[in-house]
């Protein structure tokens, strides 16, 4: 290589045409447009709520793409299709529910058609006259989700925003009750009937009622419900009384309730079953729950004692006789009386202080009060006459400190309540005892005694005659002995006479009477014989011819 080398052979670099590599900013515009569109599509897809199917009995007022589904008046969905079900019996409504309401669609969610309704208990759904029918919705409490529903025939009476509690009433018949019939507490409208149905066995009717808060707290397990429908007219000693809860209940029926014993009883749990009674009186009759049953075995007659007769504790009514019967024990039939003592009636008789003291007692102690009174203070049951005219008896509980010891054996069911013989019966038994004593008196023996006495008298008289004869025939020295004999005889006569006296004048009145009658008979017989003798003396021929009719 030399210095002046030829560079002409050096190849030239290939020029690279300047490429406009940068993408014009303007392409951002379609990219943004695309992104926004995609964003909206994605958002719409994400917001897509579930599709549900509801079956309705009819498509009345339901229009596809128009009828809304509302919860608390907020639109949560819309009907998309209205078709018939596969078996053509119902209407299948397909609806799209909004995404935000998806969580509400649980298993026991309810749907129903809201349309104007006019019923006795009110008018509802008037707004739908303008807005058109819509489908009402009420979420349930279940956690399971569901997509197929069956619409309710009528709107539910209660919605979740209504505070209060539901209860179930068992009744024999529905009576005049209907949906929406009011529930009264002290004549205040506090709730209504929300549904009714036959019990599973078809033997009774289950009525569901709803009691609004805060009145629901007055329903305790002890509460009694009765039908307040219509008129309740009754005639009694105080005249005619007519009771009715309200005009609405006259037409639509109603239910009233009351809690018999006030006190801090626990509130009843929701859905607690109760019995619906026919009227207030039967409703407030205490139930078996607060009742203590006792058996009383009286010894006297039960005549005048009837089922329902009161049981009075020191004059306070605390219960009633529930059953009267005979019991075969120890080889004999004996009366057996079952009495019920109502705790609430019992407690009602207490003074406030006693009640307070009683409340502080433990349960066992409280139930044992009667038992202790029986064991320690001689509390006994006794039959007493309530009315002298009708002879009605009642059972009285009273203290008899002298009564023989007894106590209630709580192990028996029902336990026996010791009894004492009571009032009238006691008098009766006393009389009976006297009669029995009289019966026991040895009348025959007395008769024998009399005979014996007479025989002795006879013997004495004979010996007296003999003595007299001896006095006549024998010597005087014997007279002394005879006198002694005589004296003896006289004393014997005296004794006999005394005993005869006793027999005749003693308490043995019939004997005396009979004796007198016998004497009279005897006198009469003697007179008759005398008259016969006189007659025969004057008319001796009658012995042969018989008695002449003309000549009596």
């Amino acid at each position: 290589m030399t210095e002046n080398a030829d560079f002409t052979n050096v190849p030239e670099a290939t020029p690279v045409p300047k490429k406009r590599s940068k993408l014009p900013v303007v392409w951002i515009v379609p990219i943004i447009a695309a992104l926004v569109s995609i964003g909206i599509v994605v958002q719409k897809y994400l917001n897509e709520g579930p599709t549900i199917r509801i079956t309705f009995p009819s498509a009345e007022g339901i229009e596809a793409e128009k009828t809304l589904i509302k919860y608390k008046d907020v639109e949560i969905g819309k009907v998309t299709h209205v078709n018939l079900t596969d078996n053509y019996t119902r209407i299948l409504v397909t609806a799209k529910i909004e995404k935000h309401a998806e969580g509400l669609l649980d298993k026991d969610a309810r749907f129903w058609l809201v349309k104007p309704r006019v019923s006795l208990s009110g008018v509802s759904g008037l707004g739908t006259i303008l807005s058109g029918n819509y489908i009402g919705f009420e979420p349930g409490t279940s956690r399971e989700t569901r997509r197929d529903f069956r619409a309710l025939e009528s709107p539910p009476a209660i919605t979740s925003d209504r505070l209060g509690r539901e209860f179930v009433l068992h009744a024999d018949t529905l009576g005049s009750l209907g949906l929406g019939s009011p529930v009264y507490y002290r004549r205040l409208d506090v709730g209504d009937v929300i549904s009714f149905d036959l019990a599973k066995d078809g033997r009774s009717v289950d009525i569901r009622i709803f009691v609004n808060a805060p009145h629901d707290k007055f329903v305790t397990p002890n509460t009694r419900f009765w039908e307040a429908s219509g008129l309740d007219a009754s005639m009694g000693a105080e005249g005619i009384s007519v009771r009715t809860a309200s005009v609405t209940s006259l037409i639509a029926g109603g239910i009233s309730f009351e809690t018999p014993s006030p006190g801090p009883a626990a509130e009843a749990a929701p859905n607690t079953p109760f019995t619906l009674h026919k009227d207030r009186k039967t409703a407030l009759t205490p139930t078996m729950k607060e009742v203590r049953l006792f058996v009383v075995r009286f010894k006297e007659s039960m005549r005048g004692l009837s089922v329902g007769a009161p049981v009075l504790f020191l004059g306070m009514p605390i219960g009633e006789v529930t059953d009267i019967g005979l019991e075969y024990t120890g080889g004999v039939l004996r009366p057996r009386v079952e009495v019920a003592i109502y705790a609430y009636q019992f407690e009602q008789a207490f003074t406030k202080e006693t009640l307070a003291v009683q409340k502080t007692m433990s349960r066992e102690k409280r139930t044992d009060v009667l038992g202790r009174m029986v064991a320690e203070k001689g509390l006994r049951a006794q039959l007493r006459t309530g009315s002298l005219i009708s002879g009605q008896l009642y059972v009285s509980l009273d203290y008899y400190p002298d009564a023989p010891k007894a106590k209630i054996d709580v192990k028996q069911d029902p336990p026996e309540f010791p009894a004492v013989v009571g009032g009238m019966a006691e008098l009766q038994t006393q009389i009976q005892r006297i009669v029995a004593k009289l019966e026991k008196m040895p009348v025959e023996e007395i008769g024998g005694d009399v005979r014996k006495t007479l025989a002795t008298l006879d013997a004495t008289l004979q010996s007296a005659t003999r003595a007299m004869n001896r006095v006549e025939g024998e010597t005087l020295p014997e007279a002394k002995k005879t006198l002694e004999d005589l004296r003896r005889a006289v004393t014997a006569v005296e004794r006999v006479l005394n005993s005869t006296d006793n027999v005749l004048l003693g308490p043995d009145a019939p004997a005396q009477q009979e004796l007198r009658e016998a004497m009279q008979e005897f006198t009469r017989a003697a007179r008759a014989i005398r008259e016969l003798a006189d007659y025969l003396e004057r008319n001796p021929e009658t012995l042969l011819r018989g008695k002449n009719k003309e000549n009596p």
């Binding site: 303007v26 515009v29 379609p30 695309a34 926004v36 569109s37």
Partner: protein, 213 residues
């Protein structure tokens, strides 16, 4: 067509788009400003085809939601009713005012679509260097420019209606996202038409003619 037309660009001159003054550019890349009115000079609109394409595609993208999504929501006593453009056409037709339905159909559905189609046609032909129907294509472009802005009337109507009909319990109208997309379509097609340089139609035909000569 006359042969060997002398154009300003070929002669090295540039005309001002604002005042029409023909001037000598400083440089072919950066022509500079118009010496009379001060407007920026350019031989041809910059990136005309790319820009036009971009706006046209964006408009096309917006066109779908504009027609699918509701443009407004009418709330009356009897309920709520969202309306898309097409459902509006249907309602107008069903209620008997077929002429209004026709106007709405043409102004809101067909014109934007026609604009997009025309733009695409112009752009494709220019890119392919087509020399046919130059005059017609130029006329098409002019029509495009003129009627483009009238589609905005729809958007104005919607805005007016929304603003005016607010009788709360009886009736009220609220805008819905569809109206945004619709105005997007209108504005983007205007931009696309604006970005397009009709002189390109002739440029390619010039080249072609030159080669043909």
């Amino acid at each position: 067509m006359t042969a060997a037309v002398r154009t300003g660009m070929r002669e090295g001159f540039v005309s001002c788009e604002a005042c029409g003054l023909l001037s000598r550019p400083v440089d072919t890349e950066e022509p500079g400003e118009c010496p009379r009115c001060g407007a920026e000079l350019e031989f041809r609109r910059r990136d005309a085809i790319q820009r036009a394409w971009a706006f046209a595609i964006a408009a096309a993208i917006c066109y779908l939601p504009a027609n699918i999504l509701p443009v407004m929501r009418t709330t009356t006593l009897t309920g709520e009713e969202p309306d898309t453009i097409l459902s509006g056409v249907v309602i107008l037709y069903e209620t008997g005012t077929w002429y209004l339905a026709l106007i709405l159909l043409i102004a809101s559905v067909m014109i934007p679509l026609a604009k997009l189609a025309s733009l695409a046609y112009l752009l494709v032909t220019v890119q392919r260097g087509s020399v046919r129907n130059n005059r017609e294509r130029t006329r098409l472009y002019r029509i495009l420019e003129i009627i483009g802005r009238w589609s905005m009337v729809d958007v104005f109507v919607a805005t007016f209606v929304v603003a005016l009909i607010q009788m709360q319990p009886l009736m009220s109208i609220a805008p819905e996202p569809g109206v945004l997309f619709f105005s997007g379509v209108v504005i983007l097609t205007i931009f696309a038409a604006e970005s397009f340089d009709p002189r390109l139609i002739w440029d390619s035909s010039q080249g072609k003619q030159e080669t043909n000569d």
